[in-house]
Symmetry: D3
Subunit: 140 residues, 6 copies
């Protein structure tokens, strides 16, 4: 089994805020992350496919196509956006790295199934900062 | 001449928006950076002093004190904040990296003059992303 | 399954030295790593939990709490220390990255079991240098 | 189970070119990567062993020996070389990162079986650029 | 004085070879860098302007325009190319990092003078590898 | 003026300790850095020359020779050593990054004057950690 990964990035604002809680409870649980006017990050997104190289190209999947797919289906929706206010697939959800990564995984899983015959999505890794990151791995 | 540098970081939201312009002109000039709900970055701030090492300590300046000074005078004011809305020293100014770096330089210059006898602020470097950064160097 | 990681760091001295061997055998096996007065590293420690996000917070585990836990239980015991001489949980053990990582894994495993209901320790990664690192993964 | 990794690097030229295709088809499929005179990369190679630390040394495998083994068996054959023209184990194969990683995995697997009793090759990771990389993991 | 920098990258093949020397002398002076079929690198290029921020935008220069300018005038000519064979401005010159950086500096200097009123080119930094790099700074 | 840089690294133990002070004063001024048994770092050393490229080679200085010179004159004396106890040129001096960088600058300055006709030492940069570093620049 061989794994192929591509790294992309986006810049977004967010806040951690549970609307069913009081302002005080949000501040208590999320601390400065609950700042009403938000803060932001340079997110790094690594998308990992697994599969078998095509004998004609040596490719599991064309990296230019993978980059285009990630940009069209994910980056364009979140880059230079406010994750709480501007992103359709995050509506009504907590804007934590865990939830954001899980949603991105599901979007990419469907697209890669449609576009790719000899590979499938194995994992995404989402860095919120160089010190905080989340991985979502497919169920076997 | 010897130079001593300390790197700190902060996470902030901002947008590029000139309030004396129309929404259309802002969009035209700043593109996605003018998104009304903002976006954000993991900023990296490097503060560089120049001076002569103290013979008793071997230090130009104590790095723990420098870190504390940077955190108290700069990081606490911008970390997990919206640069356009929450930061006093950015009120009425464009939230570009150039302007933000210039304001941070002036804040730190004064503090280091007060606290330090054998060194002075030489430069600050502010990374907005790993690919975009600004330096402000003191006039000779 | 979702994985959440936090990176911390510490600076420590160590030497590789087996006290049941002669000085010559230590030098032969460990080379410059056996230097009697020691050498040192900037260690990077990545702690990875797996679990399910809490629906109220979107968190597998609060990263500030995870950071505090790692600092109190591990970093304070090893940072600015000599691993062979100052660290209780390394007494009588080889100060290799493999052994150090294994001991840190066991300390963190217990603490995370105590403090966390919807996640558990999955892996630790310990960088001795940017080119040498060790991972310890839980048994299934 | 404990995993030990060592990172090495090499600089090589290559092109993506299928000799059974026309120049036009190569250009269409591989784009600028099919440039007849080639282009190149700073490749980063991470080799990961798994095993049990030796009680006398605390080592899964001696990292200096692992570094020497990787250099002698892989780096010397590809560093400052043209992967399409100068490398025996790539003759007649596509010079994609997937294929190169797979060949390097097989070379190292044999060598580590010969030289190492308490560890075996688990994975190699090959970075073509900081944004494109391939992993080959052993079958269980 | 404020400095604004933008980082771009390109992947290219090259060899170090003086055509007025024998093959033996080239091998003696340049070692593996003289390999006839070439090798290659992931080059990183940092372009630094100095100037005064425009009061309406807060910008020394628009980073999107700077990125486009660097790509059109430099990256498109060298990316996925062989520096010895495919690049017009390197014809008849040694493909060392020093010479390449000097030529890129001169190309960008002219363009930035044409396109920019309140800033000028101060420096370029060209990384051949993470450990080898060259800077060209303007004469005062 | 063109600048050529080479990065090397070494791993060393040290402590910050002024022998003319009491243990208490050392602890008060240097905190955990005064731990009697020491701690350590992965130091990164960047050596920057300035000069004019040789027309025959395109080189300011041969990077392999520069690497060898740095290793023989500096790295071999400090790598896998205790800076306070094992390094001749640090005897009787504070083992701060400032002092260490200054001593390394002076050693390299002499050697490069001897070995190099068309370049001279311009600067050294010494990283103690990724967040703390010192530069020494030649007087004009």
């Amino acid at each position: 089994m061989i794994f192929l990964s591509r790294k992309e990035h986006f810049n977004a604002a967010h806040k951690l805020y549970n609307p069913s809680w009081t302002e005080e409870k949000n501040k208590e649980v999320f601390g400065p992350c609950a700042n009403p006017n938000g803060h932001g990050h340079n997110y790094e997104l690594i998308v990992t496919l697994c599969g078998t190289p095509d004998p004609d190209t040596g490719f599991i999947f064309d990296l230019k196509k993978l980059s285009t797919l990630i940009r069209e289906k994910v980056i364009e929706k979140v880059d230079h956006k406010n994750l709480n206010m501007d992103v359709d697939f995050m509506q009504g959800k907590m804007a934590s790295t865990e939830v954001l990564a899980y949603e991105i995984f599901n979007i990419l899983k469907k697209e890669i199934e449609l576009q790719c015959s000899n590979a499938e999505l194995y994992k995404i890794t989402l860095y919120e900062t160089p010190r905080n990151f989340v991985e979502v791995i497919r169920e076997k």
